[in-house]
């Protein structure tokens, strides 16, 4: 009985986790496809199969398309074939052009070709003609590792992609969650991405003075981008509190200002950063193969969770959103809390801008367009109420994941673009509805 209650409590708090799991399962099903394995075991099995079909000492060529990990796979195949008592005169890792040139050079009879899936297609198309022209190839058979079924979605590489792709939106959504819990909104974050990216790129190039920027320059420039956005956020918060202007209006104004400034500072053209090291944050993967942007995202979520759940500032934020008057009377510094959340939201948008610039090694004034809506969608799908007073930090992460997973799934299956937009809308509505139902059943159940 107790465990059932716990499950109900868990589901009512994180009902969107269920939506996420269902989505993952669904997308796994529709992205199920034949995969070509590249493991040592697959190489050994392939070598065994070829050895059975060919006489001992026969010539076998290894042929795989170039790419990450392909050289290693070719080496594994070569070792396995040699161990199986076959002779490997040539091992080619390259383009179809390289393959053709290498095959045309063969003089000794080739019994078989061990290929990956791409090169197997090449051979199936080209070998009949090549075989007519080149006697060495006229009895050659082609073998590739036995394919197995696995969803493209569930490949480790793809799952990391999804996390990497949502990292910017998810990080900004931390700030947005806090803003929305105080019953506010921040429409300026998309423009701040562009502004921060441009300021960062301009500062880096300026600091370097025409030369190649050093790591110090990169750090200083990024700090400048983040700081400027934090200051803008502070300005937003001050306007909201001092003049009592609705956050919607203030941040709408800031949105236009920041967008314009981004174009002015960049003179309307993207600014490339001439140091590839700048890509470390956006594209690098240092910790156990996890992308740096994902590590940063997870770290920030843990910190934000601790702040919201275990510190007084977290309690203040909920209190301000729940009932500002009651909060004020019970001694919560309402105005400072509001300035704090908008500053933090600006700062995180600035960080998002640096990450986006790092991703492209360019500060682009066009970037960040409409990202504010994705961020708000992540927060809302994550179960935070626009009325304020309630919401969970990790709920927002799940919300960002739901949106990222749908986007990824639709790209993997080639869903038409306008349909994608419809699906987004429907999923946002469903997620919010499920959340409402959970809340209701939790209330009546208690």
């Amino acid at each position: 009985m107790k465990s059932k209650l716990d499950a109900r409590k868990l589901l009512s708090e994180y009902g969107n986790v269920l939506v996420l799991l269902l989505l993952c399962a669904f997308i796994s099903i529709v992205t199920l496809e034949e995969q070509s394995p590249r493991s040592t075991a697959a190489a050994n099995r392939l070598a065994e199969k070829i050895a059975q079909a060919s006489p001992k000492g026969a010539n076998v060529i290894v042929l795989v398309r170039s790419g990450k990990g392909q050289q290693e796979f070719a080496d594994k195949l070569k070792d396995a074939l040699t161990n199986a008592g076959l002779h490997v005169p040539d091992s080619i890792v390259g383009t179809p052009r390289d393959a053709r040139i290498a095959l045309e050079k063969q003089t000794a009879t080739i019994a078989a070709i061990a290929a990956d899936n791409h090169m197997a297609t090449f051979c199936a198309d080209q070998l009949p003609n090549l075989g007519k022209a080149i006697t060495a190839l006229n009895k050659t058979t082609v073998h590739q590792p036995r394919k197995h079924k696995w969803p493209n979605f569930l490949k480790k590489e793809n799952l990391l992609n999804v996390l990497k792709q949502i990292s910017i939106v998810a990080i900004i959504a931390i700030g947005m969650t806090m803003v929305i819990i105080t019953a506010g909104i921040d429409l300026s974050v998309g423009s701040l991405i562009a502004f921060s990216g441009v300021i960062t790129a301009v500062s880096i190039q300026h600091l370097a003075g025409g030369g190649d920027p050093t790591t110090g320059h990169l750090l200083l420039g990024s700090a400048a981008g983040i700081l400027v956005c934090a200051i803008i956020g502070m300005g937003t918060g001050s306007l909201v509190t001092l003049f009592n202007i609705p956050a919607f209006i203030v941040t709408l104004g800031v949105m236009f200002i920041a967008k314009g400034l981004a174009f002015i500072f960049s003179e309307s053209a993207p600014i490339p950063v001439s140091n590839e090291g700048f890509a470390w944050l956006g594209r690098g993967s240092d910790l156990m193969g996890l992308p740096n942007s994902v590590v940063l995202m997870l770290l920030l979520y843990v910190i934000a969770h601790v702040i919201m759940a275990h510190t007084s500032i977290g309690r203040y934020i909920y209190a301000v959103g729940g009932n500002p008057e009651a909060a004020r009377l019970s001694g919560v510094p309402v105005k400072w809390v509001l300035v704090f959340v908008y500053t933090l939201c600006g700062l995180l948008a600035g960080l998002g801008g640096v990450m986006e610039a790092s991703l492209h090694i360019t500060g682009d004034p066009k970037s960040g367009t409409l990202v504010e809506l994705q961020v708000i969608a992540a927060v809302v799908v994550g179960g935070t109420s626009l009325a304020g007073g309630q919401g969970k930090i990790f709920g927002t992460l799940v919300g960002a994941l739901i949106i990222g997973v749908i986007r990824n799934g639709m790209n993997l299956t080639g869903v038409e673009a306008h349909m994608q937009s419809v699906v987004y809308g429907v999923v946002i509505l469903i997620a919010v509805m499920v959340d409402q139902l959970k809340n209701r059943s939790a209330k009546t159940g208690a």
Binding site: L32, E157, N161, Q165, E356
Partner: protein, 316 residues
Amino acid sequence: MKKFLTLLSALPAILLFAWLGCGGDKSKGVIAYTPQTLSNPFFGVIGDHIRAEAEQNGYEVLIVDPDYDVKKQSDQFDDFIAKNVTAIVLVPCDRLSVGPAVQAANKAGIPVFTVDAKCAAEGVKIEGHVGTDNFQGGELAGKAMIDALGEKGGKVLILDLKRAHSCVLRVEGFKKVINAHNKESTGKIEVVAELDGNGDRTKGYQSTADALQAHSDLDAIFAINDPSALGAYTAVKEAKRQDKIKIIGFDGQLDGKQAIKEGKIYGDPIQHPDKMGKLIVQLIVKYQAGEEIQPETLIPATLYTKAEADQDPDLK
């Protein structure tokens, strides 16, 4: 609540059925296409012909829409790499910032081809490009302008799109012909304003409306694509000056052609997105066969005026 949990536990079973249910396919691989946007029919036509030609050659096609957003386009590249596609056809949303995404595909061994617009980032490998000869197209627009204005010349507004290199080339070709004409002829053609038309109707309309206020004696407009040319026409019509002001567009999209037939637009140098889609796939097929391929193929634009429109079976 119980229902949900039952559903959840049923998932592995569903997965298993799907695994059993899926048969193997005999496709040679996937050609992925990411244009700037699909809201411009031009890129849609390229996509349709990529699909037709690719399927004829035994490839599957995956078409996605980054909606002018480089971040989205980069994400799509990551998805293509995860899917291990055969080749990627790209129309860069931004000729520089798309660089790291192309590098990632290069690293994964996936060949990248560009169509229409080129990628100008450093350190990237593009296997082949098919596009319109935009400079030559601009020259055609210049010649059409000279025809349209006749002996006495006149004052011209250009609606440009500076962030698209292809459109910059069109304006350069246009100006070259106009300058050469002005040296030889007495009826000078003067470019009185160059405004941003953003390549769309809304901005084309706004900029033209402003220019009409500033230049009461405007004689003609050259817009770098059809949507901005049609926006310009709306403004001209609103000012009731459609009989005096000649408009020349670019592209030859269906609504542009229709407007030419109806006399709203004088003429277009037209591009051939159908040929582009077809040629890029033929290039990929050649590449996959290990043959040597030409790094760049430019398709000349051709001039399309009312005479051609009247013969066009696609128009009403």
